[in-house]
């Protein structure tokens, strides 16, 4: 069996980072909009 686990780990790590960062970005933007509304 070929030894290519590095690519597998990298792909999953990249996906986790991208999806988490996106969910966090929605949270940050929502907070910013709420702040703008309360001003």
């Amino acid at each position: 069996m070929p030894d290519n686990a590095g690519f597998y780990h990298l792909a999953y790590a990249a996906a986790v980072v991208i999806y988490s960062a996106y969910a966090f970005s929605i949270h940050v933007r929502r907070k910013r909009v709420r702040g703008r509304r309360s001003r």
Binding site: M1, F7, A14, I18, Y19, I26, R30, R36, R37
Partner: protein, 220 residues
């Protein structure tokens, strides 16, 4: 993103599916560990197509009914779909390098997928460039429909052109060509990623509503 029953169940479903991929799904003998990239790649691609399909549908309905809600759904789905498509375009080359010997080749499926990614990016840039809400909704709806029309070509490109990309394993006329253990894992990933998409779409839609309400309050 707010913790709602939907977002919590989506996160739990993704976590369970990932545990199944990592610990309870066997390696494919010829491709080794890199074959497991397929689960995240195919399920992200399915969600990206679903998201862009919804962009096309909501855009067409907007042009017909002129409801702002439909424009917001299209906007939210385009942005969430772009994130899923980004993962497709990153995970694909990471599988291609160990299996094909190259990260990228200008093959029909890969090129059309990249092209679709750029169209959706253009859609979001266009939305950011137009201040008038009605005009922004109308112009982007046309682009959203054109982007959605590309989806069947991306899916069928492996039949229409000579390509390196593997043929569909599930979305094809005959029975799925995967051992049952791997098929169950793939279905779990599809369900989990669809739930994650719905949760992200809902959160992004609510952001669009809040942003529009803030803009209205500012101009009032």
């Amino acid at each position: 993103m707010k913790a709602t029953p939907l977002s919590i169940s989506a996160a739990a479903a993704v976590a369970i599916a990932l545990v199944r991929v990592i610990f309870f799904t066997p390696y494919e003998m010829r491709q080794g560990a890199a074959q497991k990239i397929f689960y995240i790649h195919a399920s992200s691609a399915w969600v990206a197509f679903l998201a862009f399909g919804l962009v096309g549908l909501a855009s067409a309905l907007y042009l017909w009914l002129r409801e702002e809600r439909l424009d917001r759904i299209a906007e939210a789905s385009a942005e969430v779909g772009l994130i899923f498509m980004t993962v497709v375009l990153i995970s694909g080359p990471l599988w291609g390098k160990p299996i094909w010997g190259t990260y990228w080749t200008w093959d029909a499926r890969l090129t059309l997928s990249l092209f679709l990614w750029f169209i959706i990016l253009g859609y979001l840039v266009l939305r950011g460039a137009i201040d008038d809400r009605a005009m922004r909704a109308r112009y982007s709806a046309v682009l959203g429909i054109l982007a959605a029309l590309l989806i069947p070509f991306v899916h069928l490109s492996v039949y229409l052109f000579r390509t390196l990309h593997p043929m569909p394993i599930i979305a094809k006329p005959s029975a799925p060509s995967l051992p049952s253990q791997m098929l169950v894992t793939l279905i779990m990933m599809f369900v989990a990623f669809t739930l994650m998409y719905v949760a992200l779409l809902r959160a992004r839609y609510r952001l669009a509503v809040a942003r529009d309400e803030a803009a209205e309050a500012y101009h009032a």
